[in-house]
Amino acid sequence: MDLVCGATLPSHSLVFETYGTLNKARSNAILICHALSGDHHVAGIDTEGKIGWWDHYIGPGKAIDTNKFFVVCPNNIGSCFGSTGPTSNNSRTGKAYGDSFPSIQVRDWVESQKYLMDHLKIECWAAVIGGSLGGMQAMCWSLAYPDKLKYAVVIAAAIKLSAQNIAFNEIARRAIQSDVEFKEGHYLDHETSPKQGLALARMIGHLTYLSDDALGTKFGRLVNGGDIGTTGKEVGEFEVASYLNYQGDKFSQKFDANSYILITKMLDHFDLAQDYNDDPAKAFSHAQCQFLIVSFSSDWRFSPLCSEQITGSLMSAGKAVSYVKIESDQGHDAFLLPNSRYQKAVSLYLSRVSNELEESSS
């Protein structure tokens, strides 16, 4: 496929999972778009016993009800869970792409998802849903293929990243690149891996996805299971430190460093209104679907203001939009976590979608 950057991927594969049943009219399909580090295993339990990353929200009777909808979730290109990415073999060289994997943009992800849509013979998504970078894909879908989706659910996303967001991503990339094992991106050739750098990158990222309050409530100043004031003179590791270290190490075992660099750059460069005179309302004037926008009160990476800008632009463009700001102390991570109000809002909104499907079939 041809990429926005001008490069061509001679071939690419996309792994995906589906849940529920596609109806006869093939009209009940929902596309789930994953974020920076997500994969195709979004719901249920896989053969290794792993629970899907959005299992709280997808399943029979859940907010995204698989009794009603056929849910599709691919792993996107450039990532590292089976779809073509930096760890895949480049047919031209016979070696893994590594850091030579072409730069990709959100629009490329949408394009590869369109291939999947055609493969599944789906004419129009009932909805495209995503959080964070996933929400950017949902918005991008609404402009790239306006008549190919009826609803878009855009959660904790932004029209473009702030300077602070880009800065955090740059620190993460620098952490990876500073690892001696990075070998200027050629670590696969050296059969090594910049695990320390990737762990550090993830620790920075992970910290910014949480809120001060949530960290305070969860860990406070606890040390090795006891409070620093009560455990006496012995000074151990703070629980927040061991938690972050654990998260970083876990992530560095499963994710590819070049993918992390590639996808954070993709986030940085996303700018929905760039081709529309920097006017988001003008961009959205091309959309045809209805929108639900969701934000979380304590999210400071993609703050409620970002979602309110999206909402305002959609209103200016005269589009159908609803917006909910969910009270949560979980920061950006809230979009993945159980929250009764959030579940209810998504569930009620999607009931609109399923009711519409029922009406059109009767």
Binding site: T311, G318, V321, S322, K344, A345, L348, R352
Partner: protein, 194 residues
Amino acid sequence: MINDTVPIGAWIEPKSRLLDLGCGDGTLLRRLIDDYQVQGYGLEIDPDSINLCIQKGLNVIEQDLNKGLKNFPDNSFDTVLMSQTLQALRNPHLVLDEMLRIGNRCIVTFPNFGHWQTRVFLSIRGRMPVTQQLAYQWYDTPNIHLFTYKDFEALCSERSIKILKRSFVGSQVLGLNNLCPSLFAKTAVYHLAK
């Protein structure tokens, strides 16, 4: 529930852009969309009411009116509507100014505190009125700014707000609301412009 949609409908241009501030469960907005095909958006703060709006298929935006409306550009709506909410705002006069900035025209409805029932309640019983329309005790009422329609008109005159039309809803007997709205109008409905 006082039916204040009758005069409102007459002032709304079919297919125009409408912003409903404090849309509640969306009953009125749904009706205006169904009857006049307006492109309507409702602003609401209460999560349960927002859910009801979503269920009704409405465009509902979660926003606290007390925190301002700066996110809305000048003249971005044909009509900005506020039904039975002005008395619950922290700064009604400032919101009114904002409504007139955002909307070409504004429609405001509010309970007339001068209605004879509330007067009787206060003067005879010496207690803050609790009526069907103002159904709260003084300590837990959302209605923190109670005023009469005459107070409202004084405010309009102070702020040079043009009253295009007004209508009173209340007692059906002998057209008393129009004869003596000060005593008999339960709800006052105003059509305003800058």
